[in-house]
């Protein structure tokens, strides 16, 4: 096999060739995603701390102003849907590392459908119900509820957009066992959005019941 067929590139040093494509921790993009996720985590952490700060300043009754404790059934169903979406995405990532195109394409598609279901339930079913009881303008509780869940929803939306982009490229055959850092990066981001939901769920929905 020639150097090019083995996906290597000559460095100009005598008899030395290095991989011409980098994935995972060898690639720059992978580390870019790591740092993006860390700064995003700091963003969510700051917002969650702001929630707790205002909650503890508000006194013993939370939610205040006669608002009922949040409904749990729908958010728990939504959580199950969102978290289950991480599995097909994980399988898609594993498939592309072995060069399996079908696993990649259908894994991403299944993850996308589950994510879109979550988002539809949040915006089309949950929000209209909640808005009948309070709005972001009602009080700080309402503002925090919609800001935190809305920010998370926006991240799901961005994830769906990125997933669509990666899927189009996957169907066009852009990825194989040697080049797939975009799939890895999307996978990392998607898992992050799912992990953040754990904190949003505990803070917004579960904690008022404790």
């Amino acid at each position: 096999m020639t150097v090019a067929e083995r996906d290597l590139e000559l460095t100009g040093r005598p008899d030395e060739a290095l991989p011409a494509h980098a994935n995972g921790p060898d690639s720059f993009a992978w580390w870019g995603m790591v740092w993006l996720i860390l700064t995003e985590a700091a963003l969510f952490a700051t917002l969650l701390v702001s929630y707790w700060y205002l909650r503890f300043r508000a006194g013993p009754t939370w939610p205040p102003d006669g608002i009922d404790k949040p409904e749990l059934a729908l958010p728990l169903v939504m959580s199950a849907i969102l978290w289950s979406s991480s599995l097909p995405v994980h399988l898609a990532d594993r498939a592309v590392r072995r060069g399996r195109q079908r696993g990649l394409r259908f894994g991403l598609l299944a993850g996308w459908i589950l994510g879109a279901t979550f988002l539809t339930l949040q915006f089309a079913v949950e929000y209209p119900q909640v808005l009948e009881e309070f709005t972001p303008r009602t009080n700080a509780y309402g503002s925090l509820f919609f800001t935190l869940t809305g920010l998370h929803g926006a991240h799901v939306l961005v994830g769906l957009g990125v997933s669509a982009w990666v899927q189009v490229r996957a169907w066009r055959g852009a990825f194989d066992e040697r080049r797939h850092v975009s799939v890895q990066n999307f996978t990392m981001y998607w898992h992050f959005v799912d992990v953040v939901w754990l904190f949003v769920l505990s803070t917004i929905y579960l904690a008022p019941h404790v």
Partner: protein
Amino acid sequence: MVSYAERLEAVWHEGTGLAGFVGTVDHKRIGLRYLYTGFVFFVIAGIEAGLLRMQLAAPDLEVLSPQAYNELFSMHGVTMMFLFATPVLSGFGNYFVPLMIGARDMAFPRLNAFGYWVFLAAGVFLNSAFLAGQAPDAGWFNYLPLANAEFTPSLAIDFYALSLIFLGVSTTAGAINFLVTILKLRAPGMTLNRIPIFVWGEVAFALTVVFALPALTVAAVLLELERKFGFHFYDIAGGGDPVLWQHLFWFFGHPEVYLIVLPALGLVSAIIPTFSRRPMIGYTYIVLAELAIFVISFGVWVHHMFAVGLPTIAMGFISAASFLVVVPSGTQIFAWLATMVSGRLVLSTAMWFVLGFLVLFVIGGLTGAMFSAVPFDQATTDSYFVVAHFHYVLVGGAVFPMFAGLYHWGPKMLGRRLDERLGKISFWLMFVGFNLTFFPMHVAGLLGQPRRTYTYHAGLGWELPNLLSTVGGAVFGIGILVTFVNWFRAKSRGAPAGDDPWGGETLEWATSSPPPEYNFETVPTIRSREPMWFQPELRGGAQSPEEGGRPLADGHATLSTTIGDAEPRAVVHMPHASPWPLFLTLAMTVAFTGVLFSSWGVAVVGAIASVAATMGWLWPRGETQET
């Protein structure tokens, strides 16, 4: 056979004309743009300060109206912190980090260009508030409830909050770019303990941005939600709390001070060994001290809030943490002194600025330690003593190192030497002028003069210190001007600099001045912490392949190496010039302008255009391996 240089020139040249100007991704051109733009904002904020000093030169003057005074001190602070100090230090980092680590560009060249454009757009956005006649006037820390829609109904605060959110995009992108560049693009052999201290300073800076800046973004987003849509976060009546703003702002704000000072300290560490003619003493301790300051900076924010009325126990912890900052700061100062004392000191202009920095930074540090004591802080808070303190730390601790950097690295960037005699004149004018401006403020502060008050009456003992400050400000300004003249004079007719005018120890001196677009003919192999002193084959920027250099002359490429030991792992093809970062910036500017004027149609158009521009940017063109 065609030389490496010719082959590299063919693939790395960006072309002249508009396409090259708009699309450039060369870290050196972008670095210079950061520097020039940052210094333009320095001049603007300096003029604002000059007007403030004229108003305060004598009692009961009416140079400025109270409203104009409020706008000018607010814009002076915001501009100096966000549009001058951070970008200029990013500019030095952009230009010199890839050179010092033997890379051919930053990890994400287009993101780098994007960062500059967003910085420029956000700076223009903020300053256009003057044209609208609604400049921010609630101080750089913009406390609530003064800044809410009830007490500041104009667009002033919206200009402030939106431009800081916008600018945060640039700063975050830049920080991530620095981190990945420094982790992954170091020349083979540049293990963690061979990274130049300046580069470590940029690491500490970038880490601080990644973890602290989100607090400012959250604070500003919540403020805009409250102002524009009637959400409740900071108003008591709606269940909010104005003190939340203070916590969020200072949780970012104190690290912000360190993220300005940390790269400046790194700059000092880049200059001292060169002009002491010996390796730095205590390299490991200096690096650990910089990282320790990054960590401690997250535990001290409440010392800006000692007068708010917080629980004593909280203030006790923060007070202790604030005292703790003295340890890593002192460690660095003693390491520098030891290096200088045990070396052969060369008193170049750059070194004079470093010595000036040492004096001013120690004075600022002493008053800083005084503020760590809660009772002293409560007695002097919001007085001119505070103003004196933070100008010693920020001007002494960051502006003097920046000027040292201009004289140290100017020859590398311009290819020509700055005039040393003019440089020393500039230094002494700045040093004397600075002290004349800010030392009397300690006195005025202890005599009770409050900051942010547009005038004062005679007979309080404040006349002399204020007059001295105003005179000193003029001297300081002239000193700065002398360096600007020196710079542009050198640019047109300075003596040729040569590759290595100072006999420096780090890699940037291996290549020509200014460096070619590809930086080095071969990506070198590093075997020393002071490669230029211990690897003579590096001179000329072309370590031969037999001695370890890698030309990578077949493409537009740099090396990816491991984080710890910098072992080569892959050849990475880098993106070429592109106008899309600018297009995305313009689209985002439209979106932010729409939000500013509550023109939601415009905002939505800008947002859609931003998505489209992002797709245009990422559209696969088969030239890089970023898939």
